[in-house]
Subunit: 421 residues, 2 copies
């Protein structure tokens, strides 16, 4: 038995593999694990109760249940659901979005793989283009989806703004942004996974103008963004233009098990996604669309996110920050300005050990976090900063977050204390 080059690329070293393995084994573990690693959303009782009622209504109706499980959707996704989404975006933002601009996928991760490989990589002429990540740190899950031999990403270091003694914020360094023929697409996550950064409206507009001028698709990964799940804790305006590619997901609504992603883009891009769905999946899953259809059609989803989900995560964020202040007051820790998503990005300046070692020590103590260096796909320079940051998730149960931060503080303190010894 021999494995292909494609298989060889599916390396066990990929950050996303250890992340998802950590998630899965922790679920199956007998020991109490403090899950500050993965991106699993919280089980928010009011939200889960709402979707449970929707599922009960579907399962109580033979016709609705039969339609949900018993028919393949088209490869672009369920036609009725796509029409409802087109109305939703058009009405909410006044964008000229029609059914031809929307495709459903088996989750945002599938969206990224299909989009990046469709818009960049080897060209039909044998040239090669890359996806530019104008601001790293950026999402760990992008790193390994490239199907070709050459690195699919090229990335830029950010400008660091020191806000006060505790907080800092990354900004796009536009001096480094040059979108030439070698760039097939530009991508940002907003809010950013892993930092909780929300790139400013000005930065977004500037990137939109630069990409428009060079006729380059601009992918805005909105897995944590507006209008749903709306984990945005600052003012941030969503932006549409014909060359924008917006990626949405149902996962952070509390529905990662249904694996539903949504792409809004130019019809020519949607056509390729439809084809890829047919070839690699036949059709995307029908359960996610069936489960949220009513919430989107009735606009109830907006209300659930605004009145329940967002306040919930703001509270959880504030608790986590308070715990860090208490446990780490004596440590040189900085927190990225937490403007959205479900993460805190901690920077331990001049940490005497790499965060990979820290990750391993924490795992020994049943605390799962993610080491920062995984979040710089495409950044060639071995920037020391990458080895001084970790991502922690505050969507886990409160006890895990509280106890987890306590243990992180202990291990970090030990690392600083043992310095030079």
């Amino acid at each position: 038995m021999h494995f292909s080059r494609f298989a060889a690329q599916l390396s066990n070293d990929a950050g996303i593999i250890s992340l998802m393995e950590d998630l899965g084994s922790a679920l199956g573990s007998d020991q109490k694990m403090y899950m500050l690693g993965g991106g699993n959303p919280s089980h928010i009782p009011e939200i889960e109760a709402y979707f449970r009622a929707q599922m009960l209504a579907i399962a109580s109706d033979p016709a609705k249940f039969g339609a949900m499980v018993g028919d393949y959707d088209g490869p672009q996704g369920n036609e009725g659901f796509i029409r409802i989404l087109a109305d939703f975006f058009s009405e909410l933002y006044g964008w000229p979005i029609a059914a031809e601009n929307i495709a459903i996928t088996n989750g945002s991760q599938s969206s990224f793989g299909l989009l990046f490989n469709t818009l960049a990589g080897e060209t039909p002429q044998g040239d090669f283009t890359q996806v530019l990540l104008p601001l790293t740190p950026e999402y760990i899950g992008y790193a390994d989806v490239g199907l070709g031999k050459q690195p699919l990403f090229t990335a830029r270091k950010p400008i660091i703004e020191y806000i006060d003694d505790t907080f800092f914020k990354y900004h796009v360094d536009f001096k480094q942004i040059d979108i030439d023929d070698h760039i097939g697409a530009v991508c940002v996550s907003r809010p950013t996974n892993p930092t909780g950064n929300v790139i400013t409206d000005d930065e977004l507009k500037h990137l939109s103008e630069l990409t428009k001028a060079s006729n380059t698709p601009f992918i805005i990964d909105s897995a944590y963004g507006v209008p749903f799940p709306d984990m945005v804790f600052t003012d941030a305006t969503p932006l549409w233009d014909e060359h924008h590619v917006l990626c949405f997901s149902l996962s952070k609504l509390g529905l990662p098990g249904v694996r539903t992603g949504i792409i809004v883009a130019d019809a020519a891009i949607i056509e390729r996604i439809r084809n890829a769905n047919a070839i690699f999946s036949l059709a995307p899953g029908s359960v996610g669309p069936a489960l949220v259809q009513h919430a989107i059609q009735s606009r109830k989803l907006i209300e659930l996110c605004r009145d329940t989900l967002k306040p919930y995560y703001i509270r959880r964020r504030d608790e986590a920050i308070e715990q860090i202040r208490q446990q780490m007051h004596d440590l040189p820790v900085r927190i990225h300005q937490p403007e959205g998503a479900i993460f805190l990005w901690l920077w331990f300046e001049d940490l005497p050990i790499s965060v990979q070692i820290l990750y391993e020590r924490l795992k020994e103590r049943n605390v799962l976090v993610i080491a920062g260096h995984h979040f710089f796909p495409g950044l060639e320079e071995n920037w020391q900063h990458k080895h001084e940051c970790i991502r922690i998730t505050y969507s886990s149960d409160s006890e895990s977050v509280q106890r987890g931060i306590e243990i992180i503080a202990e291990e970090v303190r030990m690392a600083y204390d043992n310095q030079g010894s």
Copy 2:
């Protein structure tokens, strides 16, 4: 905006795209369409009622519902479900299957894409291997999943056995089967999509021996096979060996909307599938496993398939054959021995038009079928037989099947009658 070579390969010409488009648009169409094209399973009331009761039980229990929708499974699939499956196969067949031998995917189509590209294609050394399809016609969905530049498949013509005036059967032509270093994997669907053929136990054993001798993985696509959905209407023994790769699916149980595939294989292969799941999907969907878990654990699934699903499809098959006998008694039609799955494969010998033309004429009359030439991936020779066969599905509603066959008979009769005019 420029598209990549990968995107260029996602050609609108792929048979699977038009098939899935036909399925999707027919669902959204105002006109009555006679759906004899796609592979959508029937809505069997007893089966659907059983799974609806399962979903009601899950949706009535906050903890179960939360676990189904609210957590990412591990990238290999839900650990509890995998253990249940390992027990199921071990107990049912006495196979030495453990959890490390099983991975869950987002449907069989995803399984095929991942397996074929993992086991064949460009090697790390720069060589190239192919997937051998020892018997075509073979499943349309395999054709376009290759990620490389070279054709991923190489295929062989069958031996045709004439059984009587109506029926015929394809057999593997072992004289043509040579598994050398250029073959990365061998694959058969059993029952075969599109023909309803069930390759014999002897043929299966022979292929197993040849692949074992050459240390080549042998993929047996059991989407319609035993032990579920058990759409096998002859005696056929499933076979396990360490180099076998068995692909199962929940779709033909009546659950295509949940997109769940199951791979049983050597642990080294499962590890690659797990990695690919993490990289391209994070995790497979959780709904399918949750929905069938009880049916598998209790062995109720065996009973449902044996006592309800299989008799249902045998009845539908016999009705379709009877309708063909009535409507086409004057036409030179032959039917492949219908030993399984949900299709009849019709051969119109010396048909004066290609079946592509026939497909188009039928679509004009709202009858969807699939032209035979799509089912010969990897067969280079332009065999006339490919253009004389069509696949029709008998899982559609009875009226569609009855009326559809009537219209097919009319169009085929016209084609023969206009011969030479």
